[in-house]
Amino acid sequence: MSKFLTGRAGTWTGFAAAALVLFGAAPLLLSGFRLGLLAQFLCYAIVAVGIGLAWGRGGMLTLGQGVFFGMGAYLMAMHMKMADAEFRNGPGSVPDFMELAGIREIPAYWVPFASPAFTIAAILILPTAFAVLLGFAVFKRRVKGAYFAILSQALAGAFAILLIGQQSMGGFNGLSRFRYFFGYNLDDPINQQMLYFIAAGILLVVLAVALQLRRSRYGELLVAVRDAEERVRFLGYDAANIKVVAYAAAALFAAVAGAIFVPIVGIISPANIGIVPSIMFILGVAIGGRGSLIGPVIGALAVALAQSALSEQFPSAWTYAQGLLFIVVIALLPGGIASIAAATKRFRREPVTAEAPA
């Protein structure tokens, strides 16, 4: 079983099966609403793949992925608000929420986002460049472990606070009420399905990229840095460079996920990008199993699904059930859901240790 999953042929079978489920079964079986919800969960899964790389393989506890998710999301939202205003009131019109905030002229930094090409380039480049700069500043100084985690979390908190104070970025309410996505009506069910396909496609691409990184020489160096950074340095490698690549890749994945999240969900606000959402990203990865390729995806989907299903069943008590679920999974399966096969094998082989102490 495990050999099959890690082998070359197994990989292609795995990808084909995932594609079949995402592109075939899901759209056939799920209602439009459920498919939209799945699309939203896929965005979290894309973020999770990046965290799996940076944390699971690279040992960097990225507690602040909300920053990059938020950058991607806000950049996309800025374009969509500009396009909405232009379509309704002609070029140069002020987006509706700015009128409410008493802003009569479009701020200069909003203007270039009228262009779709500029927006896409910005989504791909800005968060990644920010991650590279930050990564160099942090990793060159050999900041790691808890200090790095605290730093990234503080960054997520600061970013949310910064946005709440910016009325020209929607403030506390965030940006919402989008009508078009690159010229397509968002209220059309066919276009909503299209967005789902795009999210599913991005997830597969991101998984393929992560897989290549893991299997390359670089991937082995990354694990080596995680397990024994000093030794890698003694061998003549610059550990900081190795870490920056994984950190930047995770940032890029999060930014792309944020960008597609906006048209799918229809709103982005500081509540989606601060400390709590950042922790939820990590939690999904921890529950799924940070070390494996598919574990973070499973974890992110499972956490989101559990949250949605439990809150529908028990609207006023679901948070307790969710907390219990986290405790049970982490206590019984420290390696996450992906380690379930290994855990049962160990359980069978060593029946004595599994028995309760007298």
Binding site: A19, F33, S176, D188, M194, S216, V265, N272
Partner: protein
Amino acid sequence: MPQRFKFRARDVARTFTASAAVTALALTAACGSRAGEETAAAESCVDTSGDTVKVGALNSLSGTMSISETTVRDAIYLAVEEINAAGGVQGKQIEIVAEDGASEPTVFAEKAEKLIREDCVAAVFGGWTSASRKAMLPVFEDNDSLLYYPVQYEGLEASENIFYTGATTNQQIIPALDYLAETGVKSLYLVGSDYVFPRTANAIINAYAADKGIEIVGEDYAQLGSVEFSTIVNQVNASGADAVFNTLNGDSNVAFFREYANVGLTAEEMPVMSVSIAEEEVGGIGVENIEGQLAAWNYYQTVESPENTTFVEAFKAEYGAERVTSDPMEAAYNSVYLWAATVEKAESFAVEDLQAAADGVSFASPEGTVVIDGDNHHVTKTARIGQISADGLLYTVWESEGPIEPDPFLEGYDWAADLKVTE
């Protein structure tokens, strides 16, 4: 010279090929309508053939807003029970589908869509923050369904798919300013949380003040949830303003009023007019810190009317004698009755029938009769200035002469011309 790590060209090429293949696959999927084209309206799945009709109750039952929003949910449940006991709507019993908005706008949007598309509810009651309403608005418009929103808000909005049963600015903020002006206030200090409601409210206050010759001596914003108020309160103290207009939200009020009392400021010396402090909040702030201060709402538990006596008694009988009733609760209670009355008038549960029938629908509510304005989907409301007394309740010290017509875009006020928004 440090060693370098390289990516093999073969790996990179393979990854890009795979990416390109998947992208192509995604793009070959059919595309829907483009901007400007008509979209086929989503078919409503509301089923009214049985003995029951489903409605949604969407309130934050977890997260920071739950303390306020659970009280609104209680009021919604009370109204539904009363209507059911009296025979239901169009002979059908109302069945509530409850969902948790979790104090998060995205969750509000998600759950609203679930209620409309999966549970097929005829209408949804709930929401509190403007952020949650703005997140839900596109969902209700795209799926052509109805939301009844029960909280006072910043105005400048009118959606075909939302009925606003709380006050808009001309039913709360402007009457509060009129009251202050009547009592001889010549200068004001504005304190608010940094988000859209206080910002919009203060824009209106500035325009009003400029017209009426009131001086605005200071305008400060605290971050939402901030509890550090010594700087702001010291500035307020030093400003010598005649009164303070307070649009702070939530926990910040506790810190603000404690600090206010600490530096020795009193309601007699420099009264504070608040628009977000109701019966529920007074206990948290501590009566001793806030006694004598003013609030602007449309309803207090102490309003004297037979309808209110019945409402308060029913509420306490259901949820306990220690509970209090507040303005948003009353507005939520009214919203259920207004929906039911509209359904009875339209003899239909269909959204377009309710939209057509809504104008003039009225309800003899605890605050006085409220009437729906069919043009802007708001309701007429009586403005009341209340004073906080030692027993923790608010007592009316001034009220408007009858209900005020809703004017969300302030079209009836010349001084507000610059505030207008094109919709």
